[in-house]
């Protein structure tokens, strides 16, 4: 026998075995893919995997996208981001702004055909504040009467200021007037959960097979790490207006992989666009690139508990002034990000955002002034400054930090040491407030109101990671909370003025929402909150 024959025989035998085994294995795992042959299927990239679909146990944006498809709160948003009636068809607010009365749609149904009642909402709000639920997101309800006491275990959930009058009327009492309360009711944490399912399945009620929901879609399947499949809720009150039969939210944590999937035709919509591909896509597929202003700010925070920064406002101001925000927003990022000269993003509802006084100076004037203030702060060639700048591992953060390092060096002669840490490590260090000097973070608004940005820097807000404490700022915010809408805006703008004077943070840019949206998708509306309900979308057959 020659060698080649021998090799051939062995190869043939191996190939046969391999084929047989592959066939068996493929049969075992070939079934689990979503079935794409249905007539109207929307494939969406949804970023990170939702941590839960229980309305009371999730807080991530990925979960919110799915929850807005399967659930429905008292109110919702239109395509362009205006408030609209949802499970409630109308509502009234008392003159003192503390009593809300909602009339629910009598035709609203759960996905199992049960009517959606006011009692269901009472049950859900009580479950949300019940300490035993261990809900992660409670901001939407902490202004409701007794919510704080219930969450602290001092009162029982039944004491919550939410009550039902008959089947279709719901009353909510607040501790104090909250002008943006209606927009809080669009958050999935305020969506109702089906009491019967919760009683029957407990925490497992939000799993496929158990889940009963009141939105345009219901949960069909959840393949961990892969996708969540939703199908039309035939009982939904507005089912006739819903065009798409099936929605598949694909887990897509990697922007580049997500884009490849989009380019290969596997997704209709992506959740983001990677910065390195943005320019090329904008040139080649400009009608598919959708961007809109976002309610989120990228910032550097100072550790205000160390003397270096706590006692030197001029230093903080000089460091902020020396940064060329245009370069960062347009050249380093370049996806439509806007340079941030204030803390509250432009486009926030009912609010005229404040800006740093130096926002309108030319670059050279600004740099000259920065140098002068830096010297007034006590630094210069004879007393040079070194700073540590901490950011979490990511290409984008690294590039921005390197740019800022160069700007501080050029303009002020500051030596900056860049420290790159894994996110949780960085967060733990920021909270400890010992080693951290300057750190990178971002803040995205929970609701479309300046309050969501300003309140994060109140002295006692747990999310205030700088350690900034200002009685002046706090008292303006307190007064704003107790004022009528017009006066409230003025007071909040004044509070922002204090913030911009004190410089506990350096806002760098305001984010932009960016998605690839296929030409097949109709009904996509750009809005600041980046909410895109699948029930508003439809698919055309043309490619």
């Amino acid at each position: 026998m020659t060698i080649s024959r021998l090799c051939k025989r062995d190869t043939a035998r191996w190939t046969l075995r391999l084929l047989l085994l592959s066939f068996l294995l493929l049969n075992a795992c070939g079934e689990s893919g979503p079935q794409p042959e249905l007539r109207s299927v929307l494939n969406r990239g949804t970023g990170d995997e939702p941590e839960s679909l229980d309305m009371h146990k999730a807080s991530s944006t990925g979960a919110g996208d799915v929850q807005r498809d399967i659930g429905e709160g008292l109110l919702g948003f239109t395509r362009s981001g205006e408030l609209r009636a949802a499970a409630a068809e109308s509502w009234e607010i008392s003159d003192d702004g503390r009593e809300y009365t909602f009339r629910l749609r009598p035709e609203a149904r759960w996905s199992n055909g049960d009517p959606v009642t006011a009692e269901d909402f009472v049950f859900s709000f009580q479950r949300l504040v019940d300490p035993a639920t261990a809900a992660l997101y409670v901001k939407s309800v902490d202004s409701i009467e007794n919510a704080g006491e219930i969450m602290a275990g001092k009162l029982l959930p039944a004491a919550l200021g939410v009550s039902a009058v008959g089947e279709h009327e719901l009353h909510i009492r607040l501790k104090h007037p909250v002008p943006y309360f209606l927009s809080l009711l669009t958050h999935p944490s305020t969506f109702p959960v089906h009491p019967g399912s919760v009683e029957q399945h407990g925490d497992a009620h939000a799993r496929p097979g158990n889940h009963v929901s009141n939105g345009a879609y219901r949960l069909q399947d959840w393949q961990l790490g892969s996708h969540i499949e939703l199908v039309r809720n035939e009982h939904y009150w507005n089912n006739a207006e819903t065009a798409i039969d099936r929605v598949i939210h694909f887990v897509s944590p990697e922007p580049m992989s997500e884009l490849n999937r989009y380019l290969a035709g596997e997704l209709h919509v992506t959740h983001t666009i990677p910065p390195e591909s943005f320019r090329q896509l904008k040139e080649e597929r400009s009608d598919e690139v959708r961007t809109s202003a976002s309610l989120a700010v990228y910032y550097y925070g100072f550790n205000m508990t160390i003397p270096k920064f706590a006692e030197n406002r001029r230093l903080r101001e000089a460091l902020s002034m020396a940064i060329d925000r245009e370069t960062i927003a347009n050249d380093v990022m370049g996806r439509g990000e806007r340079p941030a000269y204030g803390w509250v993003p432009d486009g926030t509802a009912n609010y005229i955002a404040r800006r740093f006084p130096y926002a309108d100076l030319s670059k050279t004037d600004r740099q000259r002034k920065a140098k002068q203030i830096f010297q007034e702060a006590g630094y210069g060639e004879d007393n040079p400054l070194t700073i540590e700048l901490r950011y979490n591992t990511s290409n984008i953060h690294q590039r921005i930090a390197a740019s800022v390092q160069a700007m501080w060096k050029d303009v002020l002669g500051v030596e900056t040491k860049l420290i790159n840490e894994e996110f949780q490590v960085m967060l733990a260090n920021i909270r400890e407030k010992k080693v951290t000097e300057v750190f990178r973070l971002n803040w995205s608004g929970d609701y479309n109101d300046a309050h969501t940005f300003l309140s994060t820097l109140e002295s006692d807000n747990p999310s205030n990671l700088t350690g900034y404490r200002s009685d002046e700022f706090d008292s303006l915010m307190d007064r704003a909370a107790q004022s009528d809408p017009d006066h409230r805006q003025i007071l909040m703008a004044e509070a922002e003025g204090v913030l911009l004077r004190d410089h506990p943070v350096i806002p760098l840019y305001f984010y932009v929402n960016k998605s690839m949206v296929s030409r097949q998708v109709e009904g996509w509306g750009d809005n600041v909150l980046n909410y895109h309900y699948s029930q508003h979308l439809s698919l055309t057959t043309e490619d």
């Binding site: 893919g33 995997e49 941590e51 839960s52 409670v138 790490g225 490849n260 035709g265 967060l427 971002n442």
Partner: protein, 307 residues
């Protein structure tokens, strides 16, 4: 042999316990916790959550609670995926990782051994040089370069195959990941086989066989093949483990819901129970694979068996 296997498995239990203990301490020592984010929770809420997940207890207590669960086969709830238990998460991921791993392993074996034998027998010919060169490329080009490149060519440009696991079905969606995963192993196995065959072909007993007038084919078939496989067999255990754990990158690039991807995300999320569950799975697998290799070795080499 059975007794030997039984003793080995018994000996693996303390190893496994030690692995769990070290992993438990390490995940808890890492800064941050499963519910930390830039949105710091109000203290009351944080307490409620910590109580619900027993994170308010001391570390030794948490460890005892955990070991108690593991002994009873309960790996606990996932802190991140609140609707799922760790066993469910791992249970859903193992078949995927195993399928892709096994297919890649078989592909690596067939292609690698064949290429290695051909190269070894045609030593220093053009064919040998070509195979060696391709193997060098296979070893040097990392998967995270090769895999996206394959997606660009076969999914985005040619549109022959899906760009992701979830985007296709059946054989289609397995092809690219399996090839990407097998490639470095093909290269290793080919080089190993080539070197081993050349070594064996130069040994005294092969020379004796040749002197007795046997042809190359018979020598390879009856005298050289088994000893050639010996170094390969000891590499197979680590190779299979490498294929399974090495799938981390491949799973990430192709969006495959396998064990490796959950290991990475759970570590990032500080999902303590899931990290530990996957660590236990990997440790148990490596222990079992090593045992299998040792047993196989004994089967191949009579000298070991008689000892």
């Amino acid at each position: 042999m059975l007794r030997y296997a039984f003793l080995r498995i018994l000996g693996a239990i303390p190893t496994l316990l030690l692995v769990i203990a070290i992993a438990f301490l390490m995940v808890h020592a890492a800064p941050g916790g499963p519910f930390d984010s830039e949105r710091q929770l109000p203290p009351d809420i944080e307490e409620n959550i910590e109580r619900a997940y027993h994170l308010d207890e001391s570390i030794p207590r948490q460890f005892i609670r955990y070991i108690n669960g593991v002994v009873r086969g309960d790996l606990g709830p996932s802190y991140r995926y609140r609707e799922f238990s760790v066993s469910e998460v791992i249970g859903s991921a193992i078949p995927v990782t195993m399928t892709i791993g096994l297919l890649a392993f078989l592909l690596a074996l067939t292609v690698g051994i064949s290429a290695g034998l051909v190269a070894g027998l045609r030593k220093n010919t053009v064919l040998d040089r070509m195979i060696t060169a391709v193997a060098m490329i296979g070893i040097s080009v990392p998967v995270f370069v090769f895999a996206p490149l394959m997606i660009l060519v076969f999914a985005v440009t040619l549109k022959w195959l899906p760009a992701s696991f979830a985007g296709g079905s059946g054989v289609d969606r397995l092809l690219l990941p399996v090839v990407a995963l097998a490639l470095p192993q093909i290269a290793y196995i080919a080089r190993l086989t080539r070197a081993s065959l050349i070594d064996v072909m130069n040994s005294d007993y092969v020379r004796t066989a040749r002197a007795q007038g046997l042809g190359t084919a018979s020598i390879v078939r009856y005298h050289a093949l088994k000893p050639t496989m010996l170094p390969l067999v000891s590499y197979l255990g680590p190779a299979f483990a490498a294929v399974l754990t090495g799938s981390v990158v491949v799973e990430h690039v192709f969006g495959i819901p396998g064990v490796g991807r959950f290991l990475v995300t759970s570590a990032m999320n500080r999902d303590y129970t899931l990290v530990l569950g996957i660590t236990i799975f990997y440790a148990a697998m490596v222990i079992v694979l090593n045992l299998v290799v040792d047993l196989f070795y004994a089967f191949l080499d009579p000298r070991i068996r008689s000892r």
